[in-house]
Point group: C4
Chain length 276, copies 4
């Protein structure tokens, strides 16, 4: 970071506007960008509704290109004004920014617009950058810690769920056969996941007494094991919170007691002042 | 409150009956009002059942107007007897009380009765006033504290859910197309919400193998993340309860600080001994 | 209990067999009764299956009457051998025992067998008596304490759920109308409960864009508030367990420290022996 | 273990490769086996898809027999190289290994291939052996402790759920009759389980107002009691974690007791000072 910054003045200024949000111009830029991102995602959604697409074909076409050109200019500007362009281009946001513009061009030159639809919706990921969710970062950090600590347990749990689904799926295929919709084992496993997660679409459902008995067992098991990840994450989150409280606290210089309330000024154990 | 109360005696008496519940008359008024509110909401519900509406047209008509007139008189009385009418009229309950009467008049004079149906059901909100749920206030306070402390985390969580739904919804629209009911992206997003929340109506369901694979992933993710808000609220509620337990323990005789650890011997605020 | 027991010897002996389970005969009686109860409930279930009912009409008829007569004799015996018959007749189990026999007689003499079906299934409640679930009583006590302490909170919560359902139900009726199956407000409220509890049958489902938007909101709210009762019961149960551990413990006679592990023999605070 | 190992050298070497994973050859063997197991399970699944089965009949046939022969050789090798073959043959994995080969032979000689489908899918259980999931063992142990401690409570809970389902199922059969699909009591009980676990397929759904009212009650109860097992497992898991934390603290230098409260200064077992 101590390398000499030999960018011209206008690049530095533009850098402040585009990458930072401390100046009034930077804030305005962020808000305009946020509006355009949300607008462009809404456009993708509305365009997928056939009768709107037919009726407002040209309006969609123009709006799409206005946004694409703005995003293209923004992408080029981001590369130009930054000190080390490579660090931006190959970063997560650099790729997301590129994917916000390329699909439109590909769709225009190559025709198969539908194929690039999904990628266009990725524009929404750009929201994260603009939001710079400072207020909630602390919160999501704690959530992340809880999830990370629960990761190994949740993997063990998911593996168990997966094996239950394969075995029950095979059994259901044998019991129900093709009548109830359990045409083959992959479909039966899909049904097991739908049932075990308590979603229950009902497009496939057992009709034989034995199949219904097995389904009942599966559902009760599913009901029982929904408790497991909930309990795990809850306990881990509870600990993550406790630890972050413990981090904030103090150790008494007189008796070395280290459990104090956040706003304690005197040690509750020996009565001496903390932080002398 | 120190302004001279120059309302005539009958206003003061009526005020006690209508607004308070300490006198026998006040209690009777409250009970009558409670019965009428529940009755009027039941009326709205029953009126929506076509064959009952046709059969008992006049009974509904009369009952509706009796209640409307009673509520109108009550509303006027509430304005007349109170010291500062404006503080009532623009309060939450003042507006709810007004909305309990106006729709009937509008429906009578303007015809389009259906439009005012929903607003009439708002009468149920009036129940809260009458109940004066003193017994459960402490409970709901703790719940409110837990929910309020969890607010930021739940917002982060809901935002993540929303983005998962938009991306998966777009993918499902591309994979399934119009055959499975995924006609456009908003409908696909609606389906994602239905699936992720484990509701699973089944009016829309994937039928292609790839669509079912993606749906399985979505369901397992949904099953996993149901743990997150549960764990959060549980932990926060647990803490809210613990803190209120801490309230019960000791009060420092020197500085009246009342937040101490369970095994504290000295006040953490002023350093003096507790329980001398 | 100090009243003179002037029952003849055979009554005392029969009392031991029927009401107690300490003697070998008492145990055999209990097992026979348990088998008959489960058998009679299974009978009620199988009888409801039409083709079995037609095919094995006489087998069902005979089995039903054998069980009814056994239960009748048992009921009379229970009254005869007990010291104070009234305390049995009007107890919970006395009424359940009576309801195990009466429906068969009523069905035989009055015809309308179907009407007494449900009451016959109540025989299953008798299982509780025979099981004398001593091993699990401690467990269910803790569960009961947790549920009882959560009662007020859960009531507040259910009341909130109920009001959400009434208001959303009314709105859905107005938005969707009769096309989507939201024929009247009670049915719409039923749909709201089905949706909010994440059951989601799919027999009624919104089809208009606005209705689906409102349904999405309702589902996300439902997903969020499922956390509330879970968190409450979890926290209360956790406390109930802690307290019951605290109940088991001791207070040091030397330093009055009252937080000891369940198997502590010496005070962890001053090193003196507990329970001298 | 102190018996003289008189197996020839090649048996010892093969034993290391097949049963252990420390040598490079042992690792390669494990990976090949893992791939074959996953491949063979995938084969069972794909074979169940009719059009694939017809199209690639011979490919499936050959792949199936290659795997079966490999597993047969492996099974025989496992018996030959081990010191005490009986301890392997009658162990859990010995039986699973046998069941991985026998169904193919039975299907070939006896025809009824379908009947042995489910058993072939059991091959997946072999994955557990290969994985030797050392990393996650600690995690799953804690989960097991939590589940084991919750067992009694969950049984009480499931028994209560079962009785609710029988009684509500009987009532729903009486109320709804055959129109709504509640053809007989076992089907109604199946519907109750589907509803109470919030799966809600929708193939059976109440249509009468009274039936819908009862269903609403059942769903709200189900929503309420989903909290119970979640809370239980969460609390037990939380305790299991806490206790394992307690393990980390101190060990008494006098009596080696290792269960102490976090702030203990004297051993609660022998009364001597900790940490002298």
């Amino acid at each position: 970071m101590k390398s000499i910054d030999n960018r011209p003045q206008w690049k530095k200024k533009l850098y402040e506007i585009i990458y930072e949000a401390d100046t009034p111009m930077g804030k305005i830029f962020d808000i305009v960008l946020l509006v355009l991102i949300v607008f462009s995602v809404a456009l993708v959604m509305l365009e997928s509704i056939t009768h709107l697409h037919v009726k407002y074909y040209w309006e969609f076409f123009i709006a799409e290109w206005v946004i694409t050109i703005f995003f293209t200019i923004e992408y080029i500007a981001r590369i130009v004004v930054i000190k080390r362009p490579k660090s931006y281009i190959f970063s997560f946001y650099g790729i997301v920014d590129l994917l916000s513009t390329v699909p439109s061009y590909l769709g225009f030159f190559m025709g198969g617009k539908n194929l690039f639809f999904a990628i266009r919706a990725l524009r929404l990921l750009r929201v994260f950058r603009v939001l710079k969710i400072t207020r909630y970062v602390g919160e999501s950090n704690k959530l992340m810690i809880a999830l990370q600590k629960s990761k190994a347990k949740i993997l063990v749990f998911l593996f168990a769920v997966f094996i239950i689904c394969i075995i029950t799926g095979t059994l259901m295929h044998l019991i129900e056969g093709k009548a109830g919709g359990f045409t083959n084992i992959p479909i039966s496993i899909y049904w097991c996941i739908v049932t075990l997660t308590t979603v229950g679409f009902g497009d496939i459902a057992p009709i034989t007494p034995l199949g219904r008995l097995l389904a009942s067992l599966l559902m009760i098991v599913g009901y029982g094991i929904i408790a497991v990840p909930t309990g795990i994450v809850g306990a881990e989150y509870s600990k993550a919170t406790d630890e972050s409280i413990a981090d904030n606290t103090q150790v008494c210089p007189h008796c070395n007691e280290d459990q104090h309330l956040a706003d304690a000024e005197f040690c509750h154990n020996c009565g001496n002042k903390l932080n002398e």
